[in-house]
Amino acid sequence: MSILEQYGLLLALVLGIAATVLALFGIARAMGPTRREPGKDVPASSGVLSRDPVWGRYHARYYGYALLFLAFDMEMAFMYPWAVVYREVGLVALYDMGVFLAILFLGLLYGWSQGALRRQ
């Protein structure tokens, strides 16, 4: 099977699932309509009819981690091709990647020391 056919298969899988779910939705709709009643569509908050909109500026307290993650995450873009040829190249590869990871780890240590790795 050619590589493009495989992608086609995956695409077909995606579309197939979407179609299946749509069919399920269709069957569910055929059961009957959802009655509109007061209070039913207010987001459930344990017995209180809380009508306040909640879409406000949300304080994500892990932004210190998030900043480090954004940069650190890039490391794997380089690591996967490296891992594939690692055995072939041998110790040099370990050394190269060792330097790279050490550089990244330094950044992590800096962030850690400055208090980025905590709930802000």
């Binding site: 995956l10 690692y86 709930r119």
Partner: protein
């Protein structure tokens, strides 16, 4: 043909997992319960919250199901029994499962409800914690197999399973996989006791059914990934290869399910701190150890 067999195997595993889940929660073994429960979901009303982001609200469960199945599509049951044997299979499964986060953010933001929104953003924090622990152990697996192709990775474990070869990587991957599947004790985005259902809270009827199906599929996909990367995939005596794959997958999935029963939910701050200050250094150590092993042991 493969296409159908793999999907049927996936559905069958999900069904078995649902039966086991019902067994642990109600104490009764009822094989028909998952089907009945699915039918019951069809029969309940599907409520859309007021002033929602309708697109997000509708897409989230479908997206979750799609990515869970896509992840399973590159995992082999037997040497040729795989939907798409991609050249970058090990990376592809990461890519597919990264969209679990997207689905949960959508499910959290969509309904415009406080519990759901907190749940969605919590999962982003959870991803920041576990993501590196999924990616880095897989790197070590690829180092040994010299390939990202999942069938080759399983093939490389013919002599010795990776769980023995790199136990540290297995432990990290298993924990991270549980966090990715957001099952207890990592169910921070859906925590009933803390968020009253969180991202699940506003889903009813058929949408809730799809969401639950997707979550179980996700567990199976991750269990299957654990099997492929660490438990030697289809390798095993006597039984046919596909049977071994299924048995191992189900065993891992059930153990993921049971682990949550016997543990309290982790604190989010602890999860993030442990993953970054302990997990990532250990994952790096794992890579170095495996790197040396690969060079020393032919």
């Amino acid at each position: 043909m493969n296409f159908v067999i793999v999907l049927v195997a996936l559905l069958g595993s999900v069904w078995l997992l649902a039966v086991v889940e019902g067994w642990t929660t109600t104490g009764r073994l009822r094989p028909a319960a998952p089907l009945l429960s699915g039918l019951a979901h069809l029969g309940r009303e599907s409520i859309v919250p007021r002033t929602p982001d309708r697109v997000f609200f509708e897409t989230a469960p479908v997206l979750l199901l799609i990515v869970a199945v896509l992840g399973a599509a590159v995992l082999p049951l037997a040497p040729t029994l795989v939907i798409a044997d991609l050249a970058t299979g090990a990376l592809f499964i990461n890519a597919a499962l990264a969209y679990v986060l997207v689905a949960l953010i959508m499910a959290g933001w969509g309904p415009n409800g406080a519990y759901a929104m907190i749940g969605g953003w919590r999962f982003l924090g959870q991803l920041i914690a576990y993501a590196m622990l999924i990616v880095m152990p897989i790197t070590a697996v690829a180092m040994r197999a010299e390939s990202l192709v999942t069938t080759v990775i399983v093939g490389s474990q013919g002599g010795l399973w990776n769980i023995v070869y790199q136990p540290l990587g297995f432990v990290l991957f298993f924990i991270a996989a549980m966090a990715l599947a957001f099952r207890a004790p990592f169910d921070l985005p859906t925590a009933p006791g803390e968020l009253g259902g969180g991202v699940d809270a506003e889903y009813t009827g058929v949408r809730l059914g799809v969401l639950r199906l997707a979550r179980l599929t996700l567990v199976i996909t991750l269990a299957s990934a654990t099997t492929v990367f660490y438990l030697g995939g289809w390798h095993g005596p006597l039984l046919p290869p596909w049977a071994w794959s299924l048995i191992k997958t189900l065993a891992v999935a059930v153990s993921m399910l049971l682990a949550g029963r016997y543990l309290p939910r982790i604190r989010e701050a602890d999860l993030m701190r442990w993953c970054w200050t302990l997990g990532i250094p250990l994952a790096l150590l794992n890579i170095i150890v495996v790197g040396l092993l690969v060079l020393v042991v032919p």
